[in-house]
């Protein structure tokens, strides 16, 4: 074994400053999470409770195995929009009867659990995670349907929800719907498309059209129970497989359904693991607020991987990118971590080769981002930086092993792509609270705009408005800064959540275990033929 040496000095002033900045960012993050936890506010929560109903997170807690971990996904969805933080739905990965499952729970305290465009995006992301990682889906349904003012944003793409559900089923991934309340109109297809359906007696209402709509459409007068009550669906329509006597009973039945899925993970079981030799607590002191100051990712690895045991590949070649083998909670991984921010030709080629090696051995890859992008300048362009960057992007894009990305610091430009940004379909992507992602740094972007407009003014022969330029630069810088922040990106569901750096090992371990529900196969794995050998670059 090779214990990585960490050079971090937790007694330094820099560490203390970093720590202070990260803890401040975490406090802000907590405040945003608290908004999601508050749901529709105290009054709506009290009204919901007064009906003897459980809150979505209470339903989830009761569904999960006691004391098991739960990773909530996209908790900041809809942040910075007109809709409530959390997007009126809770999604996550949890353990039910020893089966890792994707849980999707409507929050009926937020506008009756109505779906807005962010609810849809967050739910579809959860279903994508279920499909890619072969995780059973358990939906805890209580939603008033589409948020009507935004129906135009939901109606057309919303059909994907039901399509994905049945495609999951077709792919051998069980889908379970526990219906606690309204699940009407389009929402009726959630239980409709699920493999297992439990309706709560006296609570669940599942119909295409409610009494007013039926009366409008056909003149028939029928009550809600006749149209969609649990007792009716249990005895008459057969839509319900189980009629639960109350919410707790529904959750109990849901757990029994999972227990009978005969679920087997198709990926490798984890090996025994030891905790890192360095304290996780230090992870808040590594990355500072000033992303222009690089840090050594080995300090992170020493606090994230099993036993701090890391075997680097090509440590002296392309030293601005660390490529290494390690394990996290017993799962073997290949790690690509930016060391000096900039990706040069050597680093790009090193990455491309390493990604091929991981595919050869069916080893998942973890990308730890802190990059300002590929190097620019005459020397580098002439040295073929585009070709070499393209190799890395080619390798990342066509790699078949699971990828996980964590934005530790900067993730700018094509470097974001090369390090498996969201568009490259990592199985999971998380950000530390002080990370930033954009096409380039805010100051650089504003500067570029300024140079371009100055050149345009010169070309037109008009005088350049220096004052206006300064104001423009400040405004652009502020806008890009805001749009680079993790909460902003998380709000648009461009990542799966902003995490406490000290939770990195736990989050990655949970994701790697979830991934192992499906087979882990690199390019050519299974047929034993990747087409070419690993290219030495």
């Amino acid at each position: 074994m090779t214990v990585v040496r960490s050079v971090l000095d937790p007694t330094s002033a820099e560490f203390a400053a970093n720590r202070e900045a990260v803890l401040a960012a975490l406090t802000e993050l907590d405040a945003e999470h608290a908004k999601a936890l508050a749901g529709g506010g105290a009054k709506a929560v009290a009204r919901h409770r007064s009906r003897g109903k459980l809150l979505p997170r209470e339903r989830i807690e009761l569904l999960l195995d006691p004391d098991s971990p739960f990773l909530e996904l996209s908790p900041l969805a809809a942040w910075g929009t007109e809709f409530a933080v959390g997007a009126s739905v809770v999604t996550g990965i949890g353990v039910v009867e020893d089966v890792e499952s994707v849980v999707i729970a409507n929050d009926p305290t937020v506008r009756g659990g109505a779906s807005n465009p962010w609810t849809l995006k967050k739910s579809l992301r959860a279903l994508q995670i279920a499909r890619e990682n072969r995780l059973p889906v358990i939906q805890l349904v209580e939603s008033g349907g589409a948020d009507l003012p935004t129906q135009k944003e939901i109606f057309i793409p919303g059909g994907q929800l039901f399509r994905d559900l049945t495609r999951l089923s077709a792919a051998g991934i069980p889908t379970i719907a526990l219906v606690f309340g309204n699940s009407t109109a389009g929402g009726a297809y959630v239980p409709g498309m699920s493999d297992h359906v439990v309706l709560v007696d006296g609570g669940a209402k599942v119909f295409l059209g409610g009494p007013p709509l039926v009366r409008m459409a056909t003149g028939e007068i029928a009550d809600e129970e006749e149209l969609g009550g649990a007792a009716m669906h249990g005895r008459v329509s057969g839509l319900a497989d189980h009629v639960a006597s109350d919410e707790q009973d529904a959750i109990r039945i849901g757990r029994r359904i999972v227990a009978r899925l005969n679920w087997r993970k198709r990926g490798p079981a984890p090996l025994p693991s030891l905790p890192p030799r360095y304290p996780e607590e230090d992870l808040v002191g590594i990355v500072g607020p000033d992303l222009s100051r690089p840090f050594d990712p080995r300090d992170v690895l020493a606090r994230v991987v099993d036993d701090s045991d890391v075997d680097e590949v090509k440590p002296r070649y392309g030293p601005s990118l660390v490529t290494a083998w390690a394990r996290i909670h017993g799962h073997p991984v290949g790690i690509l971590a930016n060391a000096q921010g900039v990706l040069f030709s050597q680093e790009a080629q090193k990455a491309a080769q390493f990604i091929q090696l991981a595919n050869q051995t069916d080893t998942p890859l973890v990308f730890l981002h802190n990059t300002t992008g590929y190097m620019v300048g005459r020397e580098y362009e002439q040295g073929g930086i585009i070709k070499h960057g393209a190799m890395m992007i080619n390798a990342v894009a066509n790699s078949r092993v699971p990828h996980l990305s964590v934005l530790l610091g900067a993730s700018y430009g094509a470097g974001h792509y090369g390090m498996c940004g969201r568009a490259y379909d990592p199985r999971f992507l998380f950000a530390w609270p002080t990370a930033k992602s954009a096409v380039m740094g805010p100051a650089q972007l504003a500067g570029v705009l300024s140079i371009v407009s100055r050149a345009a003014a010169e070309a037109r022969g008009t005088p350049f408005d220096e004052e206006g330029d300064t104001a423009m630069r400040a405004a652009v810088e502020a806008q890009i800064e805001a749009e680079s922040l993790p909460a902003f990106l998380s709000g648009r569901v461009y990542d799966d959540g902003v995490i406490d750096p000290r939770d990195t090992r736990t989050v990655l371990g949970l994701c790697l275990s979830a991934i192992a529900n499906g087979p882990i196969e690199g390019v050519g794995s299974g047929r034993g033929d990747a087409g070419f050998g690993v290219f030495r670059m």
Partner: protein, 513 residues
């Protein structure tokens, strides 16, 4: 020459006799009823014979089955233990008639003592003080209160205190029924009931050659339902003069009936030192271990040797220190001593230095009838074990025994353990004021209250919850290595009222009913 002993008994006394037999190189045979199929005494014996059924009358009281069992298993001697047929002269005779050795006094001695009515006359004639006997049919108001006793009885079975004449007929009926069921003989008698007394008894050991030893007294005043639960030697109330008188009376009693073997002469005493003969128990007593501890003798070995015709030395050994025995019962003192029962999940007593044997130096002796997993039913006496503390002084013995009991692991049922600990630690007990009214005087409210108070219960519930979480993490098939109950977005712990089940990581843990 005895080569294989059948113990016509069950539980701890069977195990006790087996221990000595093993030490002497003698084979062992157990008998067991269906209710005792999982009892340690069956598993421990070299050979075992089933007695079909569970009721005593179908099993341990069936002389014919017991003798057939002895034959079937190749036993050449029968030890009766205590209770059941241990004081049944006909059984003793039947054993002898079957050509087997009877480990006990001659049937005639048993018969002489068997009728308590006759025994008292015999003792009065031998000059031993006795309480007047009252004809159940002629009890008058002035005689009250009286004690109704089974003539053939022992161990409190068939005993009733009667304080008004109106209660008498019912008490007699109940006592007769109980006596018939327990001893196969419905005869009962009455005697004056001494409200505040001391129960003293003298262990005697007599060989077949005329030597009779007194091994000193035991005090067994702490009783519930006339059944002893704390027994000790020497008695804190007995001085050398009284000890001499008691011993002389006991030896006279034994000699009067040509007693052979181990026996006990019971007396009722007042704090002023006056005493009366109660009865002679022609068998090993439950509480014999305290005498063994202080004398260093193995009374069962002595029984076996006497049965084989050996002679006792001229004088008994000098006693050393003080020994206290408590009987651990599956019963709830706070609920009128109601038997509880169930299955013993775990049983262990810390600091035990000997089992069924005299500890090599002062310490804790354990004579247990149960082990992990033993079912305790309602068919028999709910005694789980006897725990004995032996130390140079009575105070030390009490402290040591209390600590051993407090730390004892008795899981699966409510027991009288906490009462025993509180008794052993009570100033009145430590001061030697251990008369028969002890429990009434101190009050069960105080003595039977659990050793674990509200703070301990809360702490225990927390520990149970945390250990449960640790167990679930250990046993988890996925993600067991992740932090317990980890959340990236923790819900507020106090998520309002938690109803049935509630949010996770809350366990309702009610104290065992």
């Amino acid at each position: 020459m005895i080569t294989r002993v059948l113990v016509a008994n069950r539980g701890e006394i069977a195990r006790r006799v087996f221990r000595t037999c093993r030490d002497l190189g003698i084979g062992t045979v157990a008998v067991y009823s269906d209710a005792d199929a999982d009892s340690p005494h069956r598993a421990e014996a070299d050979r075992a014979v089933r007695l079909p059924g569970s009721a005593p009358a179908d099993t341990y009281l069936r002389a014919d089955l017991l003798i057939a069992a002895a034959r079937a298993a190749g036993a050449d001697a029968v030890h009766p233990g205590y209770g059941f047929l241990s004081e049944n002269a006909e059984f003793a005779q039947a054993v002898l008639d079957a050509g087997l050795t009877w480990i006990g006094p001659p049937p005639a001695a048993i018969a002489a003592m068997g009728s308590k009515v006759a025994a008292k006359k015999l003792m009065a004639d031998a000059g031993v003080p006795v309480l007047p006997e009252l004809d159940p049919g002629a009890v008058a108001d002035s005689d009250l209160p009286v004690l109704v006793k089974a003539s053939a009885g022992g161990g409190g079975r068939g005993m009733r205190v009667v304080r008004t004449l109106a209660e008498l007929p019912a008490a007699l009926d109940a006592a007769r029924a109980e006596a018939a069921s327990a001893f196969g003989d419905p005869t009962v008698f009455c005697e004056p009931y001494i409200e505040v007394g001391r129960h003293l008894e003298v262990q005697v050991l007599a060989d077949a050659h005329g030597t009779v030893w007194s091994l000193g007294e035991r005090e067994c005043s702490l009783q519930r339902r006339h059944q002893k639960i704390v027994e000790e030697t020497p008695s804190p109330m007995v001085d050398d003069r009284l000890r001499g008188e008691l011993s002389a009376a006991a030896v006279a009693a034994a000699k009067a009936i040509d007693y052979v073997g181990a026996g006990t002469v019971e007396f009722l005493a007042r704090n002023d030192g006056s005493f009366w003969f109660l009865e002679t128990n022609t068998r090993l007593q439950v509480e014999h271990p305290v005498t063994e501890c202080v004398t260093g003798l193995d009374l069962v070995a002595a029984q076996l040797r006497i049965a084989a015709g050996e002679r006792l030395p001229a004088a008994p050994p000098e006693p050393r220190g003080a020994a206290i025995e408590v009987r651990l019962y599956a019963e709830d003192p706070a609920r009128d001593w109601r038997p509880t029962g169930g299955t013993v999940r775990r049983f262990a007593v810390p600091g035990v230095t000997a089992e069924f044997d005299v500890p090599p130096r002062p310490g804790i002796r354990l004579d247990a009838g149960v082990a992990d997993g033993t079912p305790v039913g309602m068919a028999y006496d709910p005694m789980l074990a006897k725990v004995i503390g032996w130390a140079p002084t009575r105070e030390e013995a009490a402290a040591r025994l209390a600590a051993a009991l407090a730390g004892a692991r008795v899981h699966g049922m409510t027991t009288n353990r906490d009462l025993l600990v509180r008794t052993l630690r009570h100033p009145e007990f430590l001061a030697g004021r251990t008369d028969t009214a002890f429990f009434d005087r101190i009050g069960l409210g105080q003595l039977a209250s659990p050793l674990a108070g509200p703070d301990e219960v809360r702490l225990a519930a927390l520990a149970a919850a945390l250990a449960g979480a640790a167990t679930r993490r250990r046993d988890a098939r996925v993600l067991g290595g992740l932090p317990s109950g980890w959340r990236n977005v923790p819900s507020p712990a106090a998520a309002g009222g938690v109803r049935r089940g509630g949010a996770d990581r809350r366990g309702g843990l009610p104290v065992h009913p």
